[in-house]
Symmetry: C2
Subunit: 327 residues, 2 copies
């Protein structure tokens, strides 16, 4: 193989890179996601950042791997990221494949993170591991018994919609008390503002400013990160009990405030993880580039599960559209 | 194949059966689990009920399949069921293999339920499904992308230790607010008694009496089942978001009070399941014999994952014993 072009679409930024065969980043470009824009403006931004990465790297590429926030149709790659309202069933994979004339694969951004961690990170070669993004959204990817998990519709890994506070805040998904509604970056900021926190003079009220305030000793800002970490640790304890995982790697913008976040993650995990096999799980930070590396690895054999098999599974279950209680 | 002998060890009863090739039950025997007894008394009860089933069925059997509450060492089959304190690292598989001179396989009871549902129940041939027991304990088994999931130590499926009330009751696992601590049969009864419920004259305070009271209109008893159902539905919404499941089948003693339980399960699921792929999941009751049928099917090819592969995965991760934060 030669190098691969990759795109990571998040609710805060779009990152593109050229990734070499040895998983190193040849070069990269980053752009703030025009999150309130319409579908075509968003698409133009994605194309722009990809061209920028290609131009600076100046090496040939043979494929395009894309990670994007969920949910989505998979493997066809029509995306509807909760974080990006302008895209609903947007055919991102097809559009990019045509635009760049490259074989193009698209998966969940947290799935890419997970594959990257398996390839080069703390979860290297660990057959039961999870990669988790705590950022504008909260999501995960799962490798179980040595295989990347896709789920019935290609949407496995939505840990952001595990309930951590049954009577908690409404979530953009339509549910209530979801981890994402408590722990995503904007939720931290919103909570802190409601408790009276204000960003330093003329600054924007965002998670970066909130972290600065917490490090400067602000009690509300500190509590906001603690609340986020507690929710993450609680959800993790449950996910590890359900799935018997060996490692969990945390990535994404909010997790970069590890000094503020991780003590609370560990406290909650410790408090809720009782069974020995759960307590043995190792919770660590993801490598910063794991998502990009994983998007490039979508073309390597084990990371694109036999799609035809999955589609067969799916069609088998296609008549299960309505929940019919057997009462 | 000829028929197979099976054993289902729960915290309330031990059930043995002979299962024919067509998944029908040839005959069966049931015994109350001497739950407070020592290891050998418990073992004697298991052997007794197996001999009873063999005697009444009077057909030859070629294998012994066992489902038991978790956690356990797998595939070696030393069991430590939370519900049965007398067994800790008890070598149930080896002892039964020697006793009956049959090839013997042991897995989690909820895993057996799941396999049974896949073989003959509402989850038949559904490649992404969960079987869940709500009984003296609460557990699950998982089939994901067409494969039975075991996890890093063979303990995948412990949905009973997903947190549903972060500040909830202490759990026997050592954690807090676990689904099992809220929703297992004895927890319902304990909660109801604390709220002033008393069993009808001279009756024992158990889940069967509690269901009778609820059906007779007792408000506390009704609320106890509602609380259980809400916890189950909440945990299910999260598990389905995490795993993108198509069907969930509920079994176990408490779920048999479906008239009292399921409306609350559906209400909570409905409230917490926002994403479309989650809302599409079908939550139904398991077939009463799914656990026994699944234990017999442990000898059929897809239901005993390539153990050597899993063991290799496990040894790869063997140095991950301590959680080391990367701060």
């Amino acid at each position: 193989m030669t190098a691969r072009l990759v795109l990571d679409v998040g609710g805060t930024k779009m990152a593109a890179a050229v990734v070499a065969e040895d998983h190193s980043i040849v070069d990269r470009a980053v752009l703030r996601t025009p999150v309130a824009a319409d579908a075509e403006t968003l698409y133009d931004a994605a194309v722009f950042v990809l061209h920028a990465a290609l131009a600076v790297a100046a090496v040939p590429v043979d494929a395009l791997g894309v990670g994007c926030g969920g949910p989505m149709r998979w493997p066809s790659g029509e995306v509807s990221p909760l974080n990006i309202p302008g895209w609903r069933d947007f055919p991102l994979r097809d559009r990019l494949a045509e635009e760049f004339g490259l074989p193009t694969r698209l998966s969940n951004d947290a799935v890419c993170l997970t594959v990257g961690e398996y390839v080069l990170g703390n979860s290297r070669s660990v057959g039961n591991c999870m990669g988790m993004l705590v950022s504008t959204g909260v999501g995960a990817g799962l490798i179980i018994d040595g295989r990347l998990v896709m789920g019935a519709s290609g949407n496995a890994g939505h840990i952001g919609h595990v309930v951590v506070e049954p009577d908690g805040p409404e979530c953009r998904c339509g549910g209530r008390g979801c981890l994402e509604a408590v722990a995503r970056g904007p939720a931290l900021v919103q909570w802190a503002v409601a408790q009276g926190w204000r960003p330093p003079a003329d600054g924007e009220a965002d998670a970066v400013r909130l972290a600065e305030s917490a490090r400067a000793g602000d009690a509300v800002a500190t509590a906001a990160f603690r609340r986020c970490g507690e929710a993450v640790g609680t959800a993790l304890a449950g996910a590890v009990a359900l799935l018997d995982l060996r490692t969990v790697a945390l990535g994404g913008g909010v997790s970069r405030a590890a000094d503020l976040l991780m003590p609370a993650v560990y406290d909650a995990f410790e408090r809720h993880a009782g069974l020995e096999f759960v307590r043995r799980c190792r919770v660590v930070l993801a490598s910063p580039d794991a998502g990009l590396v994983g998007a490039a690895a979508l073309f390597d054999d084990p990371w694109w599960p036999a799609v035809t098999d999955l589609l067969e599974q799916r069609s088998t279950g296609a008549d299960h559209g309505v929940r019919t209680p057997l009462l």
